[in-house]
Amino acid sequence: MMKCEKCLNNAVISNPVLCKTHFISYFEEKVNFTIKKFKLLKKKGKIAVAVSGGKDSMSLLYLLKKFSYNVYALAVDEGILGYRDRTLINMKKFCIKNKIPYKIISFKEKFGQRLDDIVKNNKILPCSVCGVFRRRILDVHSRGFDVLATGHNMDDEAQAVLMNLAKNNISLLSRLGPISGKKRKKEFTMRVKPFYFCSEKEIMVYSFINRINADFEECPNVPMSFRLRIRGMLNDIEHERYGAKRNVIDTFQALSIKTTKDDEKQKFCIYCHEPSSKEICSACMYVKTLKTTTI
């Protein structure tokens, strides 16, 4: 058996080569370093954690609770039969067991339709509408919290960098990083990514070792996304050249892309009065075209 580089115990991961105990220390130190370096969280702050019931968000909730942060779980039920209903059961069980308050907000109650029905009735790609609606729910329900922490990891971030490069989407690119958004705006709760430097595999190992009862199912809509192709490509490169994903986000950080729109005055949607870059926000545009009930 391969041995840990710090002791004589069996290794559980080979990049870096560490046993269970040393891997947990390595992982938690890395997250703590990210939190401190980018000033993501305050010890006495009120922290909303966006949870899906999957391994990333559940591991984040577990770890922040272990670090004694004041956490509150915020979940979105998009209405994806056979997937989200199951992951949310896990999430609820976990929160009850660990005495973490939680709230679930559904697309159905907020936008009048489940995602499954939206896709069926409108012949629309699920990921775009899902992203807009999820964002709106999290923006609205995280108000009153100091931060909204998400389980986004290094793989997600490296994929987002490459996707937006491929699309020449400078505006979205400039919002990436351990703190989302181009600059702090009072209209939005600050979104932070404590797992910014943790790979998907490391989080999986962490959740496995800690027996975090996360759901490892994949969203059934993922195969339709451009992200899947980028993910496959990045995993192939990482396999041949360890550290490639980290290099993508480190290079991105070093470039620290800015746009000229940073100082624009915040506009608000004429229908829902939520912050928006356009006269009518994307959520209201969808609601209008999808003929759903009022938001």
Binding site: M2, S52, K201, I209, E218, V222
Partner: protein, 64 residues
């Protein structure tokens, strides 16, 4: 050996002795996308496995 591949839900029997990473290559699985479990414990791609082993290959995926 018996190998359970979570992603496809398949349980296969395969004759193999050697490193985990060569087994993954043989099964055309990228090591970046999985963790490998033997007797409830994680093993690395550098570890040796043999005919009597029962392995689980679990997917490393973000649900979203």
């Amino acid at each position: 050996m018996e190998v359970f591949i979570e992603k496809t839900g398949e349980k296969i029997k395969i004759s193999y002795m050697g490193k985990v990473k060569s087994l993954l290559n043989k099964l055309k699985i990228n090591n970046e996308t999985v963790i490998v479990v033997r007797d409830g414990e994680l093993i690395t791609e550098e570890d040796l496995v043999d005919e009597k082993d029962k392995l689980k290959i679990l997917s490393v995926i973000s649900g979203g």
